[in-house]
């Protein structure tokens, strides 16, 4: 008898209320822990995190170093399987998809992608068509058209004949993005895409992502250190701190002065900006310099 009650309890417990149908990405109580060995204590834990994103939405994941941003992104990309909870894209558990299917639905732009042998920009973008090909994957005219369009979409069509190791950081970022677009994904994940870019290129990139989300219906998740860019361009922001998702909501909901000061350990000023997009300014301790 007691077994039956236990089972039914477990069943009702597992039936977490489903996310609304229009949600594309839905993360329910997903957690993860890294450890050196099977029995060692975990070195880092990402506690149960929930977040949701619709079509055309841009979500930013912000937080200090080692707060779990990249772990969360790897859970979303399916590279890691959550220890508990679920990470679903259109109702499918992402870590259970086979690599090819997953690559057709999720594209990832990583921080660094080192190249061993010289590659031309065009060849590099064509790699994005890999999950669509047959065994030897000779590119079809359709693949070429899609790769050309992807390059054009990021404004890098003129680079197609150049070598990857001879273009600038900003140009490279565009080409890497073009390769991701050539995958024709539903979900686009970017790990600190603004890292080595100057402010002009940063704004450019985020504007581009915004436009792409709206025109092509991508759901975009960006990990970034740039609080103001996140506030300016993201629909939703997840604030992570020491492996915990402290807040998830619109920039205005998440950017509270006390909260940000506590998380980043610095004196900050948060001003409400236009259209509910707050601005964060660091306050230098001026006492030393005042006359």
């Amino acid at each position: 008898m007691s077994d039956v009650t236990l089972n039914s309890n477990a069943a009702s417990f597992a039936a977490v209320p489903a996310a609304p149908a229009e949600m594309r990405l839905s993360i329910e109580q997903a957690s993860y822990a890294y450890s050196a060995g099977d029995r060692a204590a975990p070195l880092f834990t990402l506690e149960a995190t929930s977040l949701h994103a619709r079509r055309q939405e841009l979500v930013a994941i912000v937080g200090p170093n080692a707060s779990g941003k990249s772990t969360l992104l790897r859970l979303i990309s399916g590279a890691l399987r959550p220890l508990s909870g679920r990470v679903q894209l259109d109702g499918f558990e992402v870590s259970a998809l086979d690599p090819r299917t997953r690559a057709r639905r999720i594209a990832v732009v990583q921080q660094e992608s080192p190249l061993l042998f010289p590659t031309r920009v065009a060849e590099y973008v064509l790699q994005g068509r890999h999950p669509y090909g047959q065994t030897l994957r000779f590119e079809t005219p359709e693949d070429l058209t899609i790769a050309e369009q992807a390059l054009a979409q990021v404004g890098a069509a003129h680079l197609r004949g150049r070598w990857m190791h001879q273009i600038s950081g900003g140009e490279k970022q565009k080409v890497v993005l073009a390769r991701a677009l050539a995958q024709q994904p539903l979900l686009l994940l970017l790990d600190e895409p603004t890292l080595h870019l100057d402010i002009g290129a940063q704004v450019d990139l985020l504007q581009q992502l915004r436009r792409l989300a709206e025109s092509h219906g991508y759901t975009i998740v960006v990990v970034t250190h740039e609080l103001n860019l996140a506030a300016e361009f993201a629909d939703q922001v997840a604030l992570l701190h020491r492996g915990k998702c402290l807040r998830f909501g619109t920039p205005a909901e998440v950017y509270r002065r006390e909260l940000l000061e506590q998380v980043f350990g610095a004196a900050l000023e948060v001003e409400p900006g236009p259209a509910g997009r707050p601005r964060v300014t660091p306050l230098a301790r001026r006492e030393k310099f005042s006359l």
């Binding site: 690559a103 190249l115 061993l116 042998f117 090909g133 065994t135 030897l136 000779f138």
Partner: protein, 339 residues
């Protein structure tokens, strides 16, 4: 954009095959006993359509019993070692990887020698033992070459070179247990030698295994292109990374074991040939694997022809020829990488 098309692939491979054919004919011709090219070609043609050769019987003996089997072995060994090298380079993301430098050839040689001592009568034992030795060595070197969970290309090379010298010491130790006559044969064989046309199993078998292993690696060619930028990247682009690694490690070890069991440890071919092919045709593995196989065959046939003609009537081991050409190239590539 100009991507790889089946037509371009066929053209390039066809041209290399033609070069190989010419090299084979020249190699059949030159040697201690000169034979005219016209006689040779017409005889080859007659044999190919199933009739007896036109050459006088003593020439026929030299061409078909001595030179041709040796050339076929050269083709086999060159193709096997070069494709194994290209496979290791892609998986280890290290352009300096090569079955010889990584110690895999020594592992295969040790396996082969153990099988000679333990079970000298069983003809299939030697290639199988060489394969097992190759596989065990690459697994060991792979784990030695890691630092903090990441493959470190310089530590990997060091691990390979140290492993090779350790295995060579073991081979020396085992050789002292052998008698004098066997010893000279093995010493020559270890240097990389194609003179022993008496293969442990039939040439037909060897070529079947060669084609199967190269074919297996070729099915992963498009995946290898992506693996060059890292396993994470490749996975995000839809590559089933564990499957590709398994297929390529096993096939490349099989190729190394195959080559070593018939010809001993011929060095640097697996380094030199993929590198030249990359310079000529680019680094797309769909083109690189077949061109490397053909280029390796050409290289070994040429090297062996030189080895048996430049100090005629005596002969050099072909491994000495490839090492003389390959070692300086290795040093050059290493220096260029460090700069």
């Amino acid at each position: 954009m100009q991507p790889l098309t089946p037509k371009r692939l066929a053209w390039i491979c066809g041209s290399l095959a033609a070069v190989l054919l010419i090299v084979v004919i020249v190699s059949l011709k030159v040697g201690a006993v000169p034979i005219s090219v016209i006689d040779l070609v017409s005889s080859l043609g007659r044999v190919a359509i199933g009739r007896s050769a036109q050459l006088p019987s003593e020439y026929s003996l030299i061409v078909f019993e001595i030179r041709l089997p040796r050339i076929l072995l050269g083709i086999l060994v060159g193709a096997a070692l070069s494709v194994a090298g290209a496979g290791f380079q892609a998986l280890l993301r290290n352009p300096l990887a090569d079955p010889y430098v990584l110690g895999v050839s020594s592992g295969a040689a040790l396996g082969a020698i153990i099988s000679l001592i333990v079970a000298s009568r069983a003809s299939f034992a030697m290639p199988l033992a060489a394969f097992a030795g190759a596989l065990a060595t690459i697994a060991g070197v792979y784990f030695l070459g890691r630092r903090g969970g990441q493959l470190d290309s310089h530590i990997l090379l060091l691990a390979g070179i140290i492993t090779a010298s350790f295995l060579s010491a073991l081979i020396m130790f085992l050789m002292t247990t052998l008698s004098g006559g066997e010893l000279r044969g093995i010493a020559f064989w270890l240097m990389g030698d194609l003179t022993s046309t008496k293969t442990p199993v039939g040439l037909g078998w060897l070529f079947t295994v060669l084609l199967l292993a190269i074919g297996a690696i070729y099915t992963t060619a498009a995946d290898l292109n992506l693996l060059l930028s890292g396993e994470q990247e490749a996975m995000h682009l839809g590559v089933d990374v564990p499957r590709v690694k398994l297929v390529v490690y096993v096939s490349a070890s099989l190729l190394t074991g195959l080559a070593v069991s018939v010809s001993g440890a011929i060095g640097y071919v697996g380094l030199l040939v993929p590198h030249v092919m990359r310079l000529l045709f680019g680094s797309d593995h769909r083109l690189l694997i077949p061109t490397t196989a053909l280029g390796g065959a050409i290289t070994i046939v040429v090297a062996d022809t030189l080895a048996r003609t430049i100090v005629s009537p005596t002969e050099l081991p072909v491994g000495a020829m490839t090492a003389m050409a390959g070692a300086p190239v290795f040093i050059y590539l290493l220096r260029r990488r460090l700069q």
